[in-house]
């Protein structure tokens, strides 16, 4: 009994502390980090989270923060579970002197769930390369920023690439394209575009959902073997990706006919399949693997001081690089906002303005050390995506190799779809579309 009383007393004391938030220094910019370093999606979640964390460390160590404002971040593990992701967001959104600058969910499910919450909380969501495809319409989705590409962009680029291989979009007629997708809002995103494209060019589609976490795919691939689609698109995440490739090997489906989205095209996805993955392709979110100019600074300011989150050899991996890019875009948005509102910690509202006016030129990219990793990006209210280009990369058994030219998704197809979907959303949610000016 005594023990129990002591336990209650300790619990009460700790609970008391929890409510008395420690006073933070005033010149700090708080950025929450929703991560998953455990569970079925950890192999992909870990490098991305490391990239983000290391870029913040670099900015703090090298530049003494963003114009003198130090970045403070706190990680919250949510294991790719939507409800826990929302809990993390709720817990962290008010931290720091100005609250969360922005939130990076790295989960389409969490992005969906947060889309309404952030509108009232006035915190922008950066969903770089994921989230709702129609959220690029900034007049309806004022707080969502699917920078660098949406799933409609990704699937459109893959269709274009396949058409090029077949020598012409008209040659797609009568072909069969299968989509093996993670059965969640994430995996279902490209279906709308593929259906639209199929209508335009007369190819057949086949949609094969794979249930979370995606280790049970035997029947899916037996169906593929039976129906012999000409191409298979892969929209997987976590352990599902490598399982798909392994099952493709097991049923003898040609890997060079397989195209993954950019979340199915990293090292953890192909390595477990070993030699079997050779020839497998994926569309890139502009960049591929490999260290670049920034890594000199990273080594000097972070890794040589033993502050790195990853092992040095892993800092060239695709998802780590993507984390760096994502963090850089966020930091640049804060910098853009500071140019207007002054060099102090920014509120979510101010960062939103910064994101909407984000404009990174080729010259600026070189200055930032991201040469050759990304192309210029210019965001506006009408276009929260900012850039929609990509290339195809192929796994040669050891490395990812770029094997195509740049493609740009076709706005003649996508723009009307975005308009319709955004209008439908606005009507459902009774939102009056319009651009925010500050």
């Amino acid at each position: 009994m005594m023990l129990k009383l002591v336990g209650i007393a300790v619990a009460a004391a700790v609970g008391g502390v929890a409510f008395a938030a420690p006073a933070l220094a005033q010149n700090e910019q708080f950025i929450p980090a929703l991560v998953y370093r455990t569970g079925a999606y950890a192999p992909n979640g870990v490098p991305f989270a490391n990239g983000i964390a290391d870029y913040y460390k670099l900015v703090n160590a090298r530049d003494n923060g963003i114009n003198g404002v130090k970045i403070v971040t706190e990680e919250c593990e949510f294991g790719y579970a939507t409800d826990r992701g929302v809990e993390c967001y709720e817990r962290l959104k008010k931290n720091g002197p100005t609250g969360a600058a922005y939130v990076i969910p790295l989960s389409t499910g969490v992005t969906f769930a947060l889309t309404e919450k952030t509108t009232t909380d006035k915190i922008p969501i950066i969903s770089m390369g994921y989230g709702r495809s129609e959220s690029r319409d900034g007049s309806v989705f004022q707080w969502n920023f699917p920078l660098l590409g949406t799933y409609w962009t990704a699937s459109d680029i893959i269709v274009q690439h396949i058409a090029k291989k077949e020598v012409g979009l008209d040659k797609l007629k009568g072909k069969k394209i299968a989509l093996v997708y993670h059965d969640s809002p994430y995996g279902k995103e490209p279906i709308a575009l593929l259906t639209e494209r199929a209508k335009l060019h007369g190819f057949e589609t086949m949609f094969l959902p794979v249930t979370h976490p995606g280790v049970e795919q035997k029947a899916t691939w037996l169906q593929i073997r039976q129906n012999r689609p000409d191409y298979v698109l892969l929209w997987g995440w976590g352990v599902m990706n490598s399982t798909s490739i392994k099952e493709a090997v097991a049923v003898g489906y040609a890997r060079d006919k397989m195209y993954g989205v950019w979340w199915s095209g990293a090292e953890p996805d192909v390595r477990p399949a070993e030699a079997g993955a050779t020839g497998y392709n994926a569309v890139t979110l502009q960049h591929t693997a490999g260290q670049f100019k920034l890594h000199e600074d990273l080594k000097k300011h972070v890794y040589d001081k033993n502050q790195g989150s990853a092992k040095w050899d892993e800092t060239g991996e695709i998802l780590y690089v993507r984390g760096l890019i994502n963090a850089m875009l966020g930091v640049e948005a804060i910098r853009t906002a500071q140019a207007r509102f002054g060099n102090k910690p920014m509120t979510g509202e101010q960062v939103r303005w910064g994101l909407e006016n984000l404009n990174i030129s080729a010259q600026r990219i070189t200055q930032l050390g991201f040469d050759g990793v990304m192309k210029p990006i210019k965001v506006s209210c009408a276009d929260h995506e900012g850039a929609r280009t990509g290339r195809i990369q192929t796994w040669d058994g050891k490395n990812w190799k770029i094997t195509s030219d740049w493609y740009e998704s076709d706005d003649k197809v996508i723009a009307p779809m975005v308009k319709d979907a955004a209008a439908k959303y606005a009507a459902e949610k009774k939102i009056a579309p319009g651009c925010l000016t500050n």
Binding site: M1, V14, R37, A81, T82, R91, E116, A192, E428
Partner: protein
């Protein structure tokens, strides 16, 4: 000394049959309710509402539902998540297709639909028992999860398969702030919990308990197993369905079938077992324990200033969670409700040793 029933004479049958026959119990319940309605809103912040109070209350309701089935009627079920999903999607479809429906009616409709599905999946319980039944209820879990992911009508043909509700209102009052949501949840949960408490001490409850203790013996003394088991499934699923509808509408706002997956079923089963099988109060205690433990564990290292990696914290959370469950079962297999009963017993005697 503080909790003495001596001197409380029940002079009418009515007094003897009250839900809380002991004065202190009655005052305690009224006090807790008053605290929850009047005092808590004075200092609660948004986080406390959305991540602690609302989830605890809604999951308590689901736990009461499962407790009726498992704790009172002895039928182990692992399909709670699926029945919650039925409630949520039924409510969503009613709200979508008949927009002017009152929100309370929407929730009750979710409960009623869950009840129908629950009875359907309860039929096998007439033939199979124990772990066989538990695994059989998993069939409903997986089937329902699949149905809501695949049948497009349920999600109103949403391309993402994710549904969302917005602009909730009740009698013209918009239910938009966390406090309003909390008060609405509190009201529904309080009413339904009292109803459950009332139900289980009546004919139906006694029937269930007889079936739980030994179903063949119960049959011999004239309790129809069909009636007893299916009514338990019906009432239980109704509660779970209402909880599911509220979970979707008032907690999540937008959701996908994954929100009601098998982990949800396990979570609620944990609540029932840790709280105490066959106890309404235990359902609340269990829900509070299971919701608060991970939040608490997540914050401890930070507060104590121990630098632990996020991954380590998460692994530790799993380990401590597992270890605590085992520890609890060893130390007190009857759950938190039993601890409460012991505490009451002590209060009755204290400070006298006998």
């Amino acid at each position: 000394m503080f909790y003495r029933e001596a001197g409380q004479f029940k002079t009418t049958y009515k007094a003897d049959q009250a839900i809380f026959p002991i004065v202190q119990d009655r005052w305690f319940v009224i006090g807790v309710l008053a605290f929850a309605v009047l005092i808590l809103p004075l200092f609660a912040n948004q986080y406390l509402y959305t991540e602690v109070l609302i989830p605890v209350l809604i999951l308590s309701l689901a736990a009461i539902g499962l407790n009726i089935l498992t704790g009172y009627c002895g039928q182990l079920s692992l399909g709670t998540g699926g029945f919650m999903a039925v409630g949520a999607y039924a409510a969503y479809n009613l709200a979508l297709r008949v927009p002017e429906t009152n929100l309370i009616v929407v929730f009750l409709f979710g409960g009623v639909m869950a009840m129908l599905v629950g009875v359907l999946f309860g039929i096998p319980s007439l033939r199979i028992k124990g772990f066989y039944l538990a695994v059989a209820t998993l069939a409903s879990q997986f089937f329902l999860e699949w149905a809501f992911a695949r049948v497009k009508w349920f999600t109103n043909y949403a391309p993402s398969g994710s549904v969302a509700v917005a602009n909730l209102e009740l009698f013209g009052i918009p239910i938009d702030t966390p406090m309003r949501k909390y008060l609405l949840v509190l009201f529904i949960v309080a009413v339904l919990a009292l109803a459950a408490k009332n139900l289980i001490r009546g004919r139906l409850g006694r029937m269930w308990m007889a079936t739980r203790d030994m179903d063949i013996a119960a049959e011999i003394i004239g309790i129809r197993p069909l009636h007893a088991k299916l009514s338990a499934f019906a009432v239980s699923s109704f509660y779970v369905g209402v909880a599911g509808a509220m979970w979707g509408f008032l907690r999540l706002g937008s959701w996908e079938p994954l929100a009601f997956d098998i982990n949800r079923s396990f979570q609620i089963l944990f609540m029932v077992i840790i709280g105490g099988l066959g106890s309404i109060l235990g359902s609340f205690l269990g829900a509070a324990f299971i919701v608060l433990l991970p939040i608490f564990l997540n914050q401890v290292p930070g507060l104590l200033g121990i630098p632990l990696s996020t991954a380590m914290v998460s692994h530790l959370e799993f380990m401590i969670f597992g270890a605590m469950i085992v520890f609890f079962l060893i130390v007190e297999p009857h759950g938190l409700a039993r601890l409460w009963a012991i505490a009451k017993e002590k209060l009755r005697l204290w400070p006298f040793p006998f």
